[in-house]
Amino acid sequence: MRDTRTSDRLIALFLLGVLAISPPLLAVFRVDAFVADTPVLFFYLFAAWAALVGFLALIIEARRAEMPEPPPED
């Protein structure tokens, strides 16, 4: 069932998100260095954030695309 799959994907994404901003991973990126002229921690957090939002949009929109649009509400 489509909804179950979406639901599983979202929970997996949530866990990934929790992991991404967890202190141990932050500690890994807390280095005084630059990536693409940007501080590593700043770059990592925004990249991870953008990735989370992107995946979120992908999962939701993929589901919407596969689900027939319901008749408009009155």
Binding site: D3, F34, A50, V53, A57
Partner: protein, 917 residues
């Protein structure tokens, strides 16, 4: 130059634009073409999360402690991922329960508890009003900074004390007007405020565009792109630590902020208002799930660059980092951008103030003021039909009250530490709602007492570990409280409760408040019982969510039931007439034709449940209705819990059933007895009528022959002799009849003088045959006796036994044809006693008459034309005599083949000889 009037006119113009948008939104809604029915407007309205605190404060935080402004937005992003599960369930619950605020939600879950609703409202007002004050402060401060353009002067240095010159007052007044106009248009609080939402969405666009514009300007106009800012910052040893800092509170603070913001995005009153109450369509949530985090991401991209640019551009300590968004454009002499930044901050502040005030006013009105007013009996509110005007006025008064309170906070303690930190403090307070709400949605067992205890303790610990220290830091309480604890008890130190050290104050407070909150919620829930209402509400909340998705307003009852069954169910409890009337009223109100309704829909099921609940209680009503519904899933747990309670009821009803069964039996017996009495009465009447008739016939003939003899002395002697013979015969008949009636009456009354002793049957039969032999000769009917000599003696009254045999023999001869008649009397010993049979070859007796002939005066045959001789009392008397001997009499016959009358009399046990002595 940037004259003050231009700033004021812009600000005023912007607010007027908000009014216009809200007006337009409401007009569109009234016309049925809602502008807010769009996932984009919905997502933008959720961005009311970003307040002036975000607009100005994020940069300030980034400038002092690096990246730790981010958890406030990362938390909501994580929650947004879960919205698909969590918020859909909240939406489903709220729509089916008509929930209008966070206080309503908690109160409704725990058995519609007014106490809980009131408690949540009070907590919300206490912690949110200072938050509103903070927004007013943001507006006021930003106005003051801007008003000195092009000079850059910090607000604290140029305080203007006149209240009338205080922009915050006017902003507050305008906000109150806006909230009253567009937040209380309808009284049905589940109706949405389209105009307000449209204005809020517009504000979200303005603040995003303003912030991004300032960020882009700073990054690319004042500096040479991100790389330039970072490179220059990297050269400053005092700024470099910010690149790797996660805030002064370390990882603990990072996690705490993330958790607090996760709770805030769900349970702040304004978030609940836009997310749940103003939600038009559940499907809008799908897009908002990723649009809202995207919004947060966009509005945060330029935070660190602006913070770094500010630190690079101003001398350390001269300019408050909280004003960088405003002062950087001012530094570059760009008045219009500075004005736009000011408007952006204004939009962030006003958006928050409007929604928060409306949300709080709904709570204050519905969960605090109205319950109290309704309890004041002398107001007689319950007797008033229309309370809408009163409700609107209470809400408007609440709006004014809340905003005025917010303004007072700002005016009198505006610069205090307490106010500056209230943002995070209110997050921590709102987090106290989380256990009761999340627990209530997923844990059926959570009780009202548990929620009350959790909320109260959590709030007290919050106040003790966060609010109290903030008072100390504002200088209102002695500072040694935070060092050595109250009354020198170090274990009670608000910053190190029970000796817990090593955490930042916020984490420390969150930990202890949650320990007390969750701990008491779970513990008290486990040791207290739910009332039936609580149980029903718990079920409605926990089971509201169906992963398959479905109807917009998920009905409480799924599945179908036959109307017939529902009617029968209700009729059982409240009676047929009341049930019919109730369903007819219901059908009338919905324009249904009951005759055509075969399958009941969800609302009819709900109606049935309500109807039943009045008679048997809500919990049982649910189970009863469920029994009639096909396809309704009631969880096993719930059924078990309800059965717990229902079993007692069932026991009672079983006892009742037994009682009523006994009553029914008794009344059936009474009815039977009554019938018997009536029958006896009728029989008595029949008997009287028959007896009189039977007496009259011989009397008539005696009288008429006597009269002939009396009136005609010249009657010839032979004829006279003949007449006298008839008179004698009729007199004998009359005597016999009277004797028989008397005998019968005596037997029935039990007064007959029985001479019971062992009797030799053969001798009796011989005597009887001899006595009636004349009758046989008269009619020329052959009589054969077949009686063995060795019959055992029987227990009987000899004369009466002979009477019975004579009766049977005379009956036999009576019904046998003359000349060809054949009557046989036989006797034999059987296991029951001695059986005597009298057989004739007369017309026989139809089977339906075989019992009747033993009743008094029941003669078989057409009594008018073919009246047999005899009184009709012979067989009834015989029956009673035989039965008195403990014997049995019956008839065997087939019509046309004669009849056999037989009786059996028990054998005497004492020897004949002994008795004969």
């Amino acid at each position: 130059m940037l004259p003050a009037w231009l700033i004021l006119v812009s600000a005023f113009g912007y607010l007027c634009l908000l009014f216009a948008i809200a007006y337009w939104g409401d007009k569109r809604a009234d016309a049925g073409r809602s502008v807010v029915a769009s996932p984009y407007i919905y997502a933008l309205s959720i961005a009311v999360y970003c307040t002036a605190w975000t607009f100005y404060g994020s940069v300030g935080r980034a400038a002092t402690s690096g990246i730790d402004f981010l958890p406030i937005y990362l938390g909501p992003t994580l929650v947004a991922i879960l919205w698909w599960h969590l918020m859909r369930k909240i939406l489903r619950i709220s729509k089916s329960n008509r929930i209008t605020s966070i206080a309503d939600f908690i109160a409704s879950r725990y058995g519609k508890s007014q106490l809980l609703g009131g408690l949540v409202t009070i907590i919300a007002v206490i912690v949110i009003t200072p938050y509103i004050a903070l927004q007013l402060k943001g507006v006021s401060a930003s106005y003051q900074v801007l008003s000195y353009y092009p000079e850059i002067v910090m607000p604290g240095n140029q305080r203007d004390d006149s209240i009338l010159k205080d922009t915050a007052l006017y902003v507050a007044a305008l906000m109150a007007a806006f909230a009253m106009l567009y937040g209380t248009r309808h009284i049905d609080a589940t109706e949405r405020h389209d105009g307000m939402v449209a204005a809020i969405a517009f504000e979200s666009i303005i603040k995003l565009v303003a912030f991004v514009a300032v960020g882009a300007f700073v990054t690319w106009a004042m500096f040479d792109g991100f790389a330039d800012i970072f490179a220059r910052a990297a050269a400053r040893p005092d700024i470099v630590p910010l690149f790797t800092s996660v805030g002064s509170a370390g990882y603990g603070g990072w996690v705490t902020l993330t958790l607090l913001s996760m709770a805030a995005i769900l349970f702040l009153p304004r978030q609940f208002q836009v997310l749940v109450v103003e939600n038009v369509n559940e499907r809008h949530l799908d897009k908002a799930v990723w649009l809202f985090p995207l919004y947060l991401l966009l509005i945060n991209i330029f935070v660190l660059p602006i913070a770094l640019a500010g630190l690079l551009s101003f001398d350390k300590g001269t300019v408050d980092p909280d004003t960088f968004v405003l002062t950087l454009p001012m530094l570059d002499r760009d008045p219009l951008l500075a004005l736009f930044a000011f408007i952006g901050g204004l939009s962030a502040a006003t958006g928050m103030v409007i929604v928060e005030t409306i949300a709080l006013s709904t709570m204050v009105c519905n969960d605090l003021v109205m319950p109290i007013l309704l309890r004041l009996r002398w107001l007689r509110l319950t007797e008033r039909g229309d309370l809408t005007r009163l409700l609107i006025n209470i809400r408007r008064a609440s709006i004014v009250f809340i905003l005025f309170l917010g303004y007072l906070y700002f005016h009198f303690i505006g610069g205090s530490y307490a106010l500056v930190t209230i943002g995070l403090l209110s997050f921590a307070a709102v987090a106290q709602f989380a256990p009761a709400i999340i627990g209530g949605m997923y844990w059926r067992r959570g009780t009202r007492s548990g929620a009350l205890a959790g909320l109260t303790l959590g709030f007290i610990v919050w106040a003790y570990t966060l609010l109290l220290p903030s008072f100390v830091r504002s200088g209102w309480l002695p500072s040694d409280l935070l060092i050595s604890g109250p009354w020198e008890v170090e274990l009670l130190n608000p910053y190190a409760l029970f000796g817990l050290t090593g955490f930042d104050p916020l984490s420390h407070a969150l930990f202890w408040s949650m320990v007390f909150n969750i701990g008491s919620y779970v513990l008290i829930s486990l040791i207290t019982r739910q009332t039936p209402t609580e149980r029903v509400q718990a079920t409605r909340f926990v089971e509201a969510y169906q992963p398959a998705g479905g109807g917009e307003r998920g009905p409480q009852w799924r599945g179908q039931a036959a109307y017939r069954d529902l009617y029968a169910l209700v009729a059982r409890f409240i009676g047929r007439s009341r049930a019919s009337r109730a369903f007819e009223d219901y059908a009338d109100s919905r324009g249904l034709n009951l005759a055509k309704v075969s399958v009941a829909d969800a609302s009819m099921l709900q109606f049935t449940e309500r109807l039943l609940a009045g008679a048997i209680g809500a919990a049982s009503a649910r189970v009863m209705v469920a029994s009639a519904v096909q396809g309704e899933n009631v969880g096993l747990d719930e059924v078990m819990a309800i059965l717990d309670e229902a079993s007692q009821v069932i026991e009672y009803s079983r006892q009742l059933e037994t009682k009523s069964l006994e009553l029914e039996q008794a009344s059936a017996e009474l009815r039977a007895a009554n019938m018997r009495l009536k029958e006896l009465d009728r029989l008595k009447d029949d008997f009287m009528a028959t007896v009189t008739h039977e007496l009259r016939t011989p009397l008539t003939s005696i009288r008429s022959f006597s009269e002939i003899l009396h009136d005609n002395p010249a009657v010839p002697p032979e004829q006279r002799q003949e007449f006298l013979g008839i008179i004698t015969k009729e007199s004998e008949r009359l005597t016999r009849l009277i004797n028989q009636v008397l005998d019968l009456a005596k037997i029935e009354a039990g007064q007959f003088d029985w001479q019971i002793r062992p009797v030799e049957p053969r001798a009796v039969i011989d005597d009887a045959v001899a006595a009636v032999s004349q009758l046989f000769k008269d009619k020329a009917v052959a009589l054969t006796a077949d009686v063995p000599g060795n019959l055992p003696p029987v227990t009987a009254d000899r004369d009466q036994l002979m009477q019975v045999i004579m009766n049977l023999l005379s009956n036999a001869v009576k019904f046998s044809p003359a000349q060809t008649g054949q009557v046989t009397i036989s006797a034999a010993a059987t296991s029951d006693g001695v059986e005597v049979r009298v057989r004739d070859n007369g017309p026989g007796i139809a089977s339906e008459h075989r019992e009747l002939i033993f009743e008094k005066f029941r003669q078989v045959g057409d009594t008018l034309t073919n009246k047999p001789e005899g009184s009709g009392l012979g067989l009834p008397i015989s029956k009673r005599i035989i039965e008195h001997f403990n014997g049995r009499i019956w008839v065997e016959s087939e019509p046309g083949r004669g009849a056999t009358f037989a009786f059996v009399v028990p054998v005497a046990h004492e020897p004949l000889m002994a008795a004969a002595k």
